[in-house]
């Protein structure tokens, strides 16, 4: 037969875990382990089951576990400076450690806030009014909360716009990729067969009709034949005849 605390430790279980498994309060388990109370027969099956042992293996009255030696130089548990009188309400034996001051908002958070403000139709001043202080005085947590709020507003707006059928553009993989409006514009130019002036980054110019285009290139029929312009190389383009 073994003491309850021996079996529990052998199984690598804490008092809290054993309490959770058996439904017996921790205080009572502690009393059993300290040998202050015998384990009643009503609790034995539950303990045996929780510890995966037979009931007869558990001593009904445990020997108290050996006391741990205090670390050298330290005071033994339960002795020392702590006052022995009853602890008054609100009185603590050790002064509570002051929580660290909240971290200021990161620069990136502030930059992101300033960037998001116009997107949700607010000025930085309006944001500051919302939070009741200058952005530069926000804590990290406050900035994070505000960012979350703005992103929620943006998300709702996007959802609303999507439902209304507007701005349902699909993002091209590379930043220079032809997107919704440009696709419509190029299609219109291609179908009309109008002359288009393409101005390239090096100052040169290509004039011709559009015969085709992909996400990252436009093929133009010039007097000299077909030429394909990489979108990255194009600075701007316009109809040769002016307005539509």
């Amino acid at each position: 037969m073994y003491n309850l605390w021996e079996i529990r430790k052998r199984k690598g279980m804490s008092l809290k875990e054993l309490s959770a498994r058996t439904g017996i309060p921790q205080e009572r388990l502690y009393a059993y382990e300290q040998g202050k109370e015998p384990i009643p027969y009503s609790d034995l099956p539950r303990l045996a089951k929780a510890l995966y042992v037979e009931e007869w293996e558990i001593k009904t009255l445990s020997d108290p576990p050996p006391q741990r030696k205090p670390p050298s130089g330290g005071r033994p548990r339960g002795q020392g400076k702590r006052s022995k009188g009853p602890r008054r309400k609100g009185q603590r034996s050790r002064p509570r450690r002051m929580p660290p001051p909240p971290s200021p908002a990161r620069e990136t958070q502030l930059a992101h806030l300033r960037q998001l403000a116009p997107a949700v139709g607010k000025t930085v001043e309006e944001l500051e009014q919302m939070v009741g202080k200058p952005l530069s005085e926000l804590t990290r947590r406050e900035a994070s909360r505000l960012l979350f709020q703005l992103q929620e507003i943006l998300r709702e707006r996007k959802q609303q716009a999507k439902e209304e059928g507007a701005h349902n553009r699909k993002r091209a993989y590379l930043p220079e990729g032809v997107d919704r409006f440009e696709l419509e514009y190029l299609t219109q130019l291609q179908e009309s067969g109008e002359l288009v002036h393409f101005h390239l980054f090096d100052g040169s110019e290509v004039v011709g009709t559009i015969v085709g285009f992909g996400p990252y290139a436009i093929t133009v029929q010039t007097e000299d034949g077909e030429t394909t312009l990489n979108k990255l190389a194009i600075a701007w383009y316009t109809r040769a005849g002016g307005n539509s």
Partner: protein, 147 residues
């Protein structure tokens, strides 16, 4: 031209090496270059941008000031101009300047009405921009220095 666009342009000028090679040669964390070049917001810290500028042999300041003029900020400016129906002035890296009202905004391009003429400007060549108050509404296509 945002810092990402500019670095992409520099990479093309230097033979179009792939991200992995440049990251290995400069010691930049893997995957960061793709983010810097392709994200719409400004990505990358000053140290990384300086490393890349040094690698391409350009003045780091040329990369750093562009970091403040990200694609995302240009989107906000263009959308503001369109919503408020005020003209915007775009300064291109080519040295040209265009002033007009925004007709549409796409991820890669924007269409300005400049003196009744539609001009489709590729956003990756836009260096800087400014929204103009209503009084300056006269749309003009100008040739000038963006700086």
């Amino acid at each position: 031209m945002s810092s990402g666009d500019y670095l992409r342009f520099l990479r093309a000028l230097h033979g179009g090496k792939d991200f992995f090679t440049i990251e290995a040669e400069t010691g930049i964390p893997s995957g960061l270059m793709r983010q810097i070049e392709q994200r719409y917001r400004a990505v990358g810290d000053e140290e990384t941008l300086r490393k890349l500028a040094e690698y391409y042999g350009v003045d780091p300041e040329e990369v750093l000031w562009r970091h403040e003029w990200s694609r995302a900020r240009l989107t906000f400016a263009l959308e503001d101009a369109m919503r408020e129906d005020v003209p915007i002035r775009l300064y291109l890296r080519t040295g040209e300047t265009f002033t007009g009202k925004v007709q549409w905004v796409d991820l890669a391009a924007t269409c300005l009405n400049v003196d009744g003429r539609e001009i489709v400007i590729q956003r990756h060549w836009v260096d800087k921009w400014e929204l103009l108050p209503e009084e300056e509404e006269e749309s003009t296509g100008e040739q000038g220095s963006p700086q």
